[in-house]
């Protein structure tokens, strides 16, 4: 289905459609060129090293050819994307100072309420910049830093420079390079040694302008023996032109630390969502990725963990949901380097109403990773005959002392199953929702209660809109 028609079809799905009429303070013209990259740096008042980083990234971008795999990106015209839209709002830590229109949008999403009830800190980004960032006073006193990258560039330059785009360098791929040139906003989170953050911290990303690009960057450092859960949420209103999101996430889990990274991605269905997420785990560290991909037009995201330290652990749980016209290309990457490292991947996808789910996975056990253990399970569920599901798991084992388990399963809901459930009085929608909810249960149980409810509600809406 072509994009225009798809967007028209999805007009019914209004509930998450939050339009904001806030005038931006700076909106650079569409297009991609060195001058524009320089303008962004200037507008942010950056130090020279960052300006140079952007310009160098842009040069790399220009040299890279587009990867030949993944989603069809022919409708993505980078020259039409507006790369930097600065909201007319200063960064603040009180909601009262956030401009009314923007505040209302976040209120509609329930963010301030969530902050009061069950979060240790919240960041809220509107278009290209964070407009709100706040963390509980007790955590600040313990030395937890929770801010945006711009602030980190100014206030913690040494710490930031040590980690910024080291795990995902601009040379990694074409979109990493583009991100390096255009990045704006995002989160910098540092949890000091031994600090256990009792409640999740969350950043929420909202798009307010048609044709815009959002390129937030996230750096998380969980220092030795610390524990933290971080939640990333994304949404955007629908526009009739393509939007682009290239978020990049770098996570450093130090010795004995535990980090859980939750993503709830519900971009509108005109969004190209090309993300890079990568973590490195030191000795005895535990890294957990929990990802829900619901929205977007086309998505490519493959959260990766490098198990560098001995006895480190990676868990990767994901659910992606491809509805009409969507192509959701997700997966996981795990690289075992340390001895006795462990990893599990449980990837589940749902395709419905002609949607296409694609799982791509890489599990690599290097020669040094003696005594390692890994399991990969990827399961696809197709709700009807129009939808598609593929899995491409790649497994490489380079030592004879490791234990690898693998399971791939693609299934379709059968007419007989629906008939069975309907013969018990359930409607077709209820029957399908029940099966889908059962299928995603293992992911749902990883989520905080409020998100679990939200996820179940999302599923019902998706199934409903696809049955029509």
């Amino acid at each position: 289905m072509e994009l225009q028609k798809l967007l028209y079809e999805l007009k019914k799905r209004e509930e998450f459609d939050i339009k904001v009429n806030a005038k931006p303070a700076i909106k650079l013209p569409a297009g991609l060129n060195k001058k524009l990259v320089y303008e962004i740096s200037k507008a942010k008042g950056e130090p020279d090293w960052m300006t140079q980083h952007r310009l160098r990234s842009f040069e790399i971008f220009e040299k890279w050819h587009d990867p030949t795999w993944g989603v069809d990106r022919s409708e993505l015209e980078l020259s039409k994307i507006v790369p930097y839209i600065k909201p007319d709002a200063k960064k603040t830590n009180t909601w009262d100072e956030v401009p009314e229109e923007i505040k209302q949008a976040f209120e509609k999403l329930g963010i301030p309420e969530a902050e009061r009830k069950y979060l240790a800190g919240v960041g809220a980004q509107f278009d290209s910049e964070m407009v709100y960032k706040n963390i509980k006073e007790e955590l600040k006193k313990l030395g937890v830093i929770f801010t945006d990258i711009e602030t980190a560039v100014r206030e913690y330059p040494d710490l930031l420079r040590e980690y910024f785009m080291k795990l995902v360098p601009p040379t990694d791929n074409r979109y990493a390079a583009l991100h390096g040139a255009l990045w704006s906003g995002g989160t910098f989170l540092y949890v000091p040694k031994g600090v256990k953050v009792p409640l999740p911290l969350q950043s929420y990303f909202l798009f307010g302008n048609p044709g815009g690009g959002q390129f937030e960057h996230t750096v998380i450092i969980a220092d030795e023996g610390s524990e933290v859960t971080y939640i990333e949420g994304c949404t955007a209103p629908k526009y009739d032109i393509v939007n682009l999101h290239i978020g990049t996430v770098e996570v450093y889990v130090k010795r004995g630390a535990r980090l859980k990274y939750l993503t709830m991605q519900n971009w509108s269905k005109n969004m190209f969502n090309l993300e890079i997420k990568r973590a490195i785990a030191e000795e005895d560290a535990v890294m957990t990725w929990v990802s829900g991909s619901f929205g977007s037009y086309k998505t490519m995201v493959y959260p990766a963990t490098i198990l560098k330290g001995d006895n480190s652990v990676s868990e990767n749980v994901s659910i992606s949901f491809a509805g009409p016209g969507q192509h959701i290309d997700t997966g996981s990457k795990v690289i075992h380097i340390g001895r006795n490292t462990r990893s599990t991947v449980d990837a589940r996808s749902i395709s419905i109403g002609g949607g296409w789910s694609f799982y791509r996975g890489l599990l690599k056990i290097t020669e040094s990773a003696k005594g390692s253990k890994a399991t990969v399970s990827c399961t696809g569920l197709m709700i009807d005959n129009k939808s598609k599901s593929d899995t491409v798991p790649i497994i490489e084992v380079h030592n004879s002392d490791s234990d690898v388990g693998h399971e791939a399963k693609i299934g379709r809901i059968k007419d007989e199953q629906i008939f069975y459930l309907m013969s018990r009085g359930l409607s077709e929608l209820e029957a399908k929702s029940l099966i889908v909810k059962g299928f995603i249960q293992p992911v749902v149980q990883e989520l905080p209660f409020e998100y679990a409810i939200e996820l179940n509600r999302l599923v019902e809406m998706e199934v409903e809109s696809s049955i029509g």
Binding site: D415, Q417, M422, S423, R424, G425, E428, E430, G438
Partner: protein
């Protein structure tokens, strides 16, 4: 009449050949009828067509439930009117727990007349009465169930959901004699509670334990002969040829 089937002709969607070739059947409220017929005679097809399986197409005749034609109703609407079918081969539904299905279904059929807690304890007592462990409720519907467990699971559903008309499609096949007796007693219990029954089988064995009002011999897509319980034993002794 709880059920009145008139000159019912039906086939598989997209195919030519009739499987039901003019079925006539009347069941009065509170009665238990048995349909006995050889394999492949179209018994399961009849059950599926009454339940509204979209795989089959009615080409002639009518099905009336409590006086109302149900031909244009969806399966779930028929279930909500009070019809229930237990399947010859119950389907596996991964991800859906047995109790979750039943509690959802109960609410759809009977509304909010009982609390969640009441329903759950009722379900537990039915399950133990049938000789299944309570953990059974936590399992995914029919997934990895043995043949006997599947059949018992269907009976648990029927007792819990309390339909007005229950169609049992070969509930007896694959059960050993003890299980058969237990299941038959449950069916008698369901009947005593006021449910009308249509028991489909190709074997007279279960009739030894069942309280039955009428027996129909069913051959090649229609009812060939009707009578009382003795007809079943006669067929068993002399073969279906007596009805041809």
């Amino acid at each position: 009449m709880i059920l009145k089937v008139e000159n019912l002709k039906a086939k598989i969607v997209g195919e030519e050949k009739l499987i039901l070739k003019g079925v006539e059947l009347e069941i009065a409220e509170g009665e238990a009828h048995v349909i006995m017929g050889p394999n492949g005679s179209g018994k399961s097809t009849l059950a599926n067509v009454i339940m509204g399986n979209p795989k089959y197409e009615v080409v002639d005749g009518d099905i009336r439930f409590l006086g109302e034609s149900i031909l244009n109703l969806r399966t779930d609407e028929r279930a909500q009117r009070g019809i229930m079918l237990t399947f010859q081969n119950p389907y596996e539904i991964e991800g859906v727990k047995f109790d979750q299905l039943l509690l959802t279904a109960y609410r759809k059929l009977h509304g909010e007349d009982k609390t969640f807690f009441q329903l759950h304890s009722e379900l537990k007592s039915i399950v133990s009465e049938i000789g299944l462990p309570v953990e059974f409720l936590e399992r995914f519907v029919n997934l990895g169930f043995s043949g006997g467990e599947r059949k018992k699971g269907e009976i648990v559903q029927a007792r819990f959901l309390k339909p007005k008309l229950l169609i049992l499609d070969e509930i007896d096949s694959g059960l050993d004699v003890d299980a058969l007796r237990l299941v038959a007693n449950q069916i008698n219990e369901i009947k005593r509670a006021g449910t009308s029954l249509l028991v489909i089988t190709h074997y007279s064995r279960i009739l030894n334990f069942l309280d039955v009002d009428r027996v129909h011999v069913y051959i090649d897509g229609r009812i060939a002969l009707s009578g009382d319980k003795n007809l079943a034993y006669k067929v068993e002794a002399d073969g279906y040829s007596i009805a041809r």
